[in-house]
Assembly symmetry: none
Homo-oligomer: 172 residues x 4
């Protein structure tokens, strides 16, 4: 529900009634709406971290490794895990006091990609930061326009990344 309607537009009432309990009962499990949301976010971050790291460990070639990591992220975000989708759909600015906490988690996760890009044999002139931000931006944007029935997430990720890659590969 957070991913579809955002933090503010999702009420404790909504959540409770979807689970089939009363709003008050939620407070047995979570101390506050904020805590609940953080738990969801955390879960999303964890799934992403785990899966992307697993993917990374399966590839040797830096470019293949990077492409596979992107594909894994998109696969999870677009379909497999609602918590992960939440991470990419809900802008931290709209979560009030939670902003810092969420941003820390996200930065932690994106650290993986920082490393992955460092390992890439890139033209010297290229700014790695911009490459990372551009690719992650391009990938995340899919959360908004993606509709099932189109290409599957992994294909989409590959297409997107290849647009960058081909130009950026360092000359032999």
């Amino acid at each position: 529900m957070f991913k579809e309607r955002g933090f503010e537009e999702t009420s404790i009432r909504d959540i409770a009634s979807k689970v089939g309990i009363l709003p008050g009962s939620i407070y047995y499990h979570f101390e506050s709406k904020d805590e609940l949301f953080v738990a969801v976010y955390r879960a999303g971050i964890d799934v992403l971290s785990r899966e992307v790291r697993a993917t990374v460990s399966e590839h040797r070639d830096p470019w293949e490794r990077f492409k596979a990591a992107c594909a894994t992220q998109l696969r999870i975000v677009l379909g497999e895990d609602d918590c992960a989708s939440t991470v990419m759909s809900v802008p931290p600015q709209e979560c009030g006091a939670l902003y810092d906490q969420l941003t820390v988690m996200r930065d932690e996760y994106e650290e993986i990609f920082k490393t992955l890009i460092q390992d890439l044999p890139l033209r010297k002139s290229l700014d790695q930061k911009y490459l990372r931000l551009a690719i992650l931006g391009a990938l995340n944007h899919a959360v908004i326009w993606y509709r099932p029935g189109l290409d599957d997430p992994e294909t989409i990720a590959n297409r997107i990344v290849e647009q960058f890659i081909d130009g950026e590969k360092a000359p032999d």
Copy 2:
């Protein structure tokens, strides 16, 4: 305020007190919070359309034209116009009943880029739709990570677009 905190987190009270009037007084000017937000969004879309179109008309070369359009968008969104920033910062999903209305406006605007990309001499194998979505995603993402003091918006836009361009130019 909408761009910084989102639609739901920005209250009529907040807006009124920033303007120095009482909450009720807002309703002399706008029929509802929704209508007010749509007016902001509309204004943002209009500025973007006007400026980007102006930029487009100043360039002949398709690649230069496209790069310039991207740079203009980013310049406006990142600094010049708060309404335009709102357009790129506030996800329509978080605006409840406004979703459709906002999406129509945005699609209308992105149409410009569709045309711009059609005019590009691209490798046949490339999917224009993915290129468009990827670039717009990469650019918009800057709304989140950009902080003044870094490279200026036009430089950033050029860097981002060049990452794509170099690879995609059709072979002579």
Copy 3:
């Protein structure tokens, strides 16, 4: 509008926009919503008083006179005059502080019927007050159920009154 929606449900805004001016402009003509409503009520009472008195003066026979008065009231209330309809449709209790003022006007008007009934040759056992209240109640009720296209107001009034009359005529 008062007659259709009641006092509270009719706003100065509604009235102004129907007249084609702005809400504030109403206050050039009336000091308050209360005053405006009282003016409408007053106008209704005046029309009724004038017309019913005119009718009364045209008849000699007490029963005919009474019947004609009832018919006139119903004709005016049901069709001719919106102010008069308002008098019969809007319960003074729902007009807050206006209650007393309105009640005085209405009592003044009903005084006519008190006199008319006093002149009737009735069975001694009959309580004149109940006859008056019952007939006026029966007549006014028509404001609620009457729809144009049925019998015309005067016929209805005659039918209603005759139901009483036939039984109440004093034995010769």
Copy 4:
């Protein structure tokens, strides 16, 4: 409170403070002011239906039965049950969107009287509909003028109905 001040003039605040809770707390029990009012109206209709039907079942003679039903209605409306008084005091037109719902309930209830009047041995020339509407109008009007200390409600009802009855009984 609804019966004394009407629907619009009675606020959720008023109701809550009379009950000794806060306005918001009302929404645990009712979804809206409308729903609350409908519940009151429903309760009034139910009491009336039940009691009048009980009365009806205790009488054989059609005229006695009818008179007793009227007396029961007036007794309940004038004194015993505030919900029933509300039904007769608050005009549905002043309840905005509730109009249809309330009218359906009321028509349902008045059906009882339709049947009762059908069973009456009346002069052929008489229009049953007008008799029903006139009597119900005359009775309900008492909600407005009745003050405790006068004749008791049942006496009043009998007096009112007898004014009609004597004239309408079919000749043997």
